[in-house]
């Protein structure tokens, strides 16, 4: 059982204090935005984009501009699109500054903008971008007319040039705020704040922020729907340490074993998620090789051998050549590893990554949840590196690093902090994805992982236990308002072991369903809050187990399992039917058999209990959980067999897709079997059908099965 970690005192409106108990600090607090519980207590978000735009860019009528220098580069152009689309409604112009004669990087972004926002809106956004050329020595005279309030610097990674650039701006605009997107320099070297974004820049919402205190600027990023994450002021960034470090570790493994990069890449993808070599090629090897090498080079100057670019990296930096062979030299000889070679792989790759993680934790670079999720959200880690270490345990993790040091003894001399793993049992480590808070009456469980996996399942159970142990009977379950902007459903990589072993699929489904049922069974009142853009599949099944489900009105709710195909494994085939009258069955069948989402505002009464603007959702959830008058009727779950569930969905359009047809039949079968049983029996029935399905040829030919073959059968 958990020890209470934090007792934070938050100011109350009447001048008193509410004691808020937290399993661990909320990541929102790192931005100075309070906790998730506080959002519900206050009935609103902590800040709004309107007020922050006023603070950062000035009041309407006196709005200043955002200048992006190096605007035609990959980062500059991507961020011009991302920020331009968000600031245009507030009348903040984007000044795109670059050398004359450079190719128009922003024009390349236009098709993506059209695809995302439509031609009309894309033109509007582009119409708010003003391009200026400059020679690097002096700023255009006309710039003053746009009242530059903020500079986002995205020029090449040469320290002196950057510093000169800041000087130039400050001499002309003394009050301007400056952030650099630098790929490696610390703020102490640059003398400005840092907002280090992740690739692909036009869509990736993550920014690693370096600043002494949370500023209105970083809070504004949050208010605009982006994901700023405060990090320490160190050389390079969490993402880059992990990604460049992983790539370097991969080259070292390849160098000692001769395994070609393409194959090392596939093993890294299988066991960790990213394929770093392919990623370099996809980004553009010439530039990416240089940037990664440069990052490693700087890191090695401070942290030693652990980061020293391998000789291969030196070569690739010079040549700019791809890591994968060209098409006319597609590999002929396949490679495999025996158990000894697997151990060597683990030592070279995981050992090095674990050491890098120890360094970042030692330096207190970031909230551990953020550090963990940066790898997942920006570098394709299927599980965050802290989650991997946690699963392995401190002793085994240290052993693996020591095994790495036997292979690379120089790496042991610096940047190794084995003692950081001593705290692996603390809530900061154990609750990477799920946090819980309460005020003595209402508990809030917040989930920061967009896809539900076994780690989330385990942490969710611990959060529930923690609240129960504190005597909490009323709970709100929601996203975390920070790292998770949506709930996309189950993490299907967790299904891979089930392809070859039916018991694993059944156990997984049963275990997750039991967790979901606890939201119904162990609390007096539970409220599921859908605060993000969408809630799909497994997450929707989880949330529908709450006594009440409230959602932001435009959130998309769906059960896309039929399109994959997979049988919903968390009771989606019977649980919602047990909460509605038969005339609502067709709505649920449509959801399950078409895979199409429905807007939350169109689902009230048969899937959700309330939908409205986000602030209303927050207020309603709090009213329900705190026992205030909310006017909603609780929909009870029928425990007996449901005899009259529709076997066919009238009006369901025919499909020419035989796979979809078979998938529909399988799901209908599961609906019939699980509904035509008592509630206690249904959990096993649904789990068995779902688990069995994952061994069928239909599943193996589908999206998940294909991904399994592609990533696991290497």
């Amino acid at each position: 059982m958990w020890v209470l970690l934090l007792f934070l005192k938050f100011p109350k409106k009447d001048g008193g204090t509410d004691m808020i108990h937290q399993m661990r600090a909320s990541t929102l607090q790192t931005l100075g935005l309070g906790s998730v519980l506080e959002i519900f207590q206050n009935g609103k978000l902590p800040v709004t984009a309107d007020e922050l735009v006023d603070q950062v860019f000035g009041q309407p009528g006196h709005r200043g501009s955002l200048v992006i220098s190096g605007a035609n580069g990959i980062v500059g152009a991507g961020k011009a699109m991302q920020l331009g689309s968000r600031l245009e409604p507030y009348g903040v112009p984007i000044i795109a500054l670059d050398f004359p004669g450079v190719s128009d990087g922003m024009a390349k972004q236009y098709p993506g903008l059209v695809a995302a926002f439509g031609t009309g809106n894309a033109n509007k956004i582009m119409g708010n971008i003003i391009k200026y050329s400059y020679d690097g020595k002096g700023l255009p005279e006309a710039l003053s007319a746009h009242n530059p309030r903020f500079l986002l610097e995205a020029i090449p990674e040469i320290l002196d040039i950057k510093k000169e650039h800041y000087k130039l701006f400050r001499s002309k605009f003394p009050d301007i705020d400056i952030w650099s997107v630098t790929s490696g320099f610390p703020g102490s070297a640059l003398g400005v704040g840092i907002a280090h974004p992740a690739f692909p820049h036009e869509i990736n919402k993550i920014w690693e922020i370096v600043e002494p205190e949370p500023s209105p600027s970083s809070q504004l990023l949050w208010a605009l729907g982006l994901i700023p994450m405060p990090v320490g002021d160190n050389w390079s960034f969490v993402l880059d340490v992990l990604f460049c470090g992983l790539t370097n570790a991969g080259t070292r493994f390849s160098e000692v074993t001769n395994m070609p990069f393409w194959k090392t890449d596939k093993y890294i993808r299988k066991y960790l998620g990213p394929n770093p070599f392919r990623a370099h090629d996809a980004i553009g090897a010439a530039g990416a090789n240089f940037l990664s090498w440069s990052c490693l080079h700087h890191l090695s100057e401070h942290y030693g051998e652990l980061f020293t670019p391998s000789s291969t990296f030196d070569e690739k930096k010079e040549s700019g050549q791809n890591w994968y062979p060209p098409d006319h030299f597609r590999p002929v000889v396949d490679w495999s590893m025996n158990s000894d070679e697997h151990e060597e792989f683990n030592a070279w790759i995981l050992g090095a990554l674990f050491q890098m993680t120890s360094l970042m934790i030692h330096e207190n670079r970031s909230h551990l949840s953020q550090m963990n999720l940066i790898g997942e959200l920006c570098a394709q880690f299927s599980k965050g590196i802290l989650a991997v270490i946690r699963r392995l345990g401190a002793e085994d993790a240290r052993r693996l690093v020591e095994a790495y040091h036997k292979l690379d003894p120089l790496a042991a001399k610096k940047a190794w902090y084995p003692e950081v793993f001593d705290r692996i049992d603390t809530p900061e480590w154990q609750q990477l994805y799920v946090n819980a808070e309460h005020d003595g009456n209402v508990g809030v469980i917040s989930i920061n992982r967009e896809s539900f996996n076994s780690d989330v399942n385990t942490e969710l159970n611990r959060a529930i236990d923690w609240l129960i142990s504190a005597g909490i009977e009323n709970v709100i379950v929601s996203g975390d308002f920070h790292l998770s902007t949506q709930m996309t459903g189950a993490d299907t990589t967790d299904f891979f072991p089930a392809v070859e072993d039916v018991t694993k699929g059944i156990d997984l489904s049963y275990s997750w369903s039991r967790t979901a049922r606890r939201l119904n069974d162990v609390f007096k009142t539970s409220v599921g809050v859908i605060n993000g853009k969408r809630c799909l599949g497994g997450y929707l099944e989880l949330m529908m187990h709450c006594h009440y489900l409230v959602a932001e009105e435009n959130a998309g709710l769906g059960m896309p399992e039929v399109t994959l195909p997979v049988i919903p494994g968390m009771e989606g085939c019977h649980w919602p039917f047990r909460k509605v009258s038969p005339e609502k069955y067709p709505n649920l069948l449509r959801l399950l058999l078409t895979g199409k989402s429905v807007k939350a505002k169109d689902s009230v009464g048969w899937l959700t209990d309330f939908a409205g603007p986000l602030e209303e959702v927050i207020k309603t959830a709090w009213k329900i959980a705190s026992g205030a008058d909310h006017g909603l009727k609780r929909r009870e779950v029928v425990k007996e067999n449901l005899k009259d569930v529709t076997k066919e969905l009238p009006g369901l359009e025919d499909t020419d897709d035989p796979f979809l047809e078979q998938a529909r039949k399988a799901i209908i079968g599961c609906i019939q079997d699980s509904c035509d049983s008592s509630l206690p029996e249904a959990i096993s029935i649904q789990a068995t059908v779902s688990g069995n399905f994952m061994t069928t040829s239909l599943f193996k030919k589908g999206v998940i099965g294909s991904a399994y073959t592609k990533t696991w059968k290497v």
């Binding site: 160098e255 001769n258 597609r330």
Partner: protein, 398 residues
């Protein structure tokens, strides 16, 4: 062991860093469909990886191949790229003697002090032989098309005869008896299968999985496909194609690769899993015999080699040859007054096939491994090559 001066005192073959693919008979495996140079480079990287030798150790690459492969112009540097290590290199070609000659050249490079570590990589694909088109204005056809493997096997331009004819001519010259050849052939098969079943071949041969262009498995190269147990009676029943030459008494074309490292003594200790084993070059000769008598050439080469070194056949702990025709062994035995039962103990190219360049490389690898099993000693390698050439070399394992 008699003391004999080494031809390359500063060069060694590090024990256990070698390896060969299996040699599937032509047109029987996925190797029929690949760029054999690319395959060889990638396979060498894999073998070295399994041998715990990072390819980064290599400074120079000598490739040996006799049949043109795609992008052959780019030569050893291209194959080095396929191996994953961009080093310079050199292409060696001397028909069936290519494997041995490549190793000797590598020894020379190391001995001269040019490099500490030289890779030898030999390979050939006889399957679907390339066809060369040669504009020849003096030819009555103006343009000659040549199927590289089969047209060359069938026609020695300097004598006008084919390979198989040399076996018949030599057999007649030495009055070789057909029944002796059948018995000899039967023993060779027995030796091969005994070595295979004992697990000996697993120590020198590496299986490979071949990928198609989509990256999916195209086929496994995990056996000398096409080699099957044969009875003495079946050999006796075979039709004679020329004097003492039957389908069973001659080798078959195959595809494959084989690799060996040659290093300085210090580097050999560093790279070998058993640094206490020392393998030295002793001597090597090539001779050329009279037109059309290729099978007698190896015996003459061995004679000359023994004369030069002062060694005798009794000093040899392992004797192994490339014997495309069974009559080769019978003639060698007669020439050298040596019992053919004492040689080729772990198999030979008569049985496991003949992909040309790597043939004598695999012969060498098997011999060195056998010598280590026997506690060391002199190893005699020899064979014939196109153009009535005989080649022979002695190595010392201690």
């Amino acid at each position: 062991m008699k003391a004999v001066e080494s031809m390359f005192p500063k060069a060694r073959i590090p024990y256990g860093t070698w390896g060969s693919s299996y040699f599937p008979a032509w047109q029987t495996s996925a190797l029929s469909e690949v760029n054999i140079g690319q395959f060889a480079g990638e396979a060498m990287a894999s073998i070295l990886g399994k041998r715990k030798v990072p390819a980064k150790n290599l400074e120079y690459l000598i490739i040996g191949s006799t049949i043109p492969f795609h992008w052959k112009f780019w030569n050893a540097p291209l194959i080095a790229s396929c191996l994953g290590h961009r080093i310079p290199g050199y292409h060696m070609e001397q028909a069936c003697a290519t494997g041995l000659s490549s190793v000797i050249i590598a020894g020379s490079e190391v001995n001269s002090g040019s490099y500490d570590t030289v890779g030898v990589l030999t390979f050939d694909r006889t399957s679907d032989s390339p066809v060369g088109v040669f504009p020849e204005r003096r030819s009555y056809r103006r343009t000659e098309a040549l199927v590289d493997v089969w047209d060359n096997f069938g026609f020695d331009p300097s004598t006008g005869g084919g390979m198989i004819a040399t076996a018949g001519i030599a057999a007649r010259k030495y009055k070789i008896d057909r029944s002796e050849v059948d018995e000899l052939t039967f023993l060779r098969y027995k030796q091969y299968f005994e070595a295979k079943h004992s697990g000996f071949l697993n120590r020198v041969l590496f299986p490979f999985e071949i990928l198609n262009v989509q990256g999916r498995l195209s086929g496994k190269i995990d056996d000398d496909f096409g080699v099957r147990q044969i009875t003495l009676q079946a050999l006796k029943d075979m039709r004679e194609l020329d004097t003492c030459v039957t389908a069973g008494g001659q080798t078959h074309a195959s595809d494959g690769m084989a690799t060996v490292l040659v290093t300085s003594p210090e580097k050999a200790k560093e790279l070998s899993q058993k640094p206490e084993i020392d393998i030295q070059f002793i001597a090597k000769v090539d001779i050329r015999t009279l037109p059309g008598l290729m099978p007698e050439a190896p015996g003459f080469a061995v004679k000359k080699l023994l004369q030069r070194t002062g060694l005798t056949m009794d000093d040899m702990v392992v004797v192994k040859n490339h014997n495309p025709f069974a009559v080769n062994d019978a003639i060698f035995a007669k020439t050298m007054n040596y019992d053919w039962r004492k040689m080729n103990n772990t198999g030979c190219s008569l049985v496991w096939g003949h992909p040309q360049a790597p043939t004598l490389t695999r012969t060498l690898i098997e011999s060195l491994e056998e010598a280590v099993d026997l506690g060391g000693g002199y190893v005699l390698i020899f064979g014939c090559a196109a153009g009535d050439v005989g080649t022979a070399a002695i190595f010392k394992v201690s």
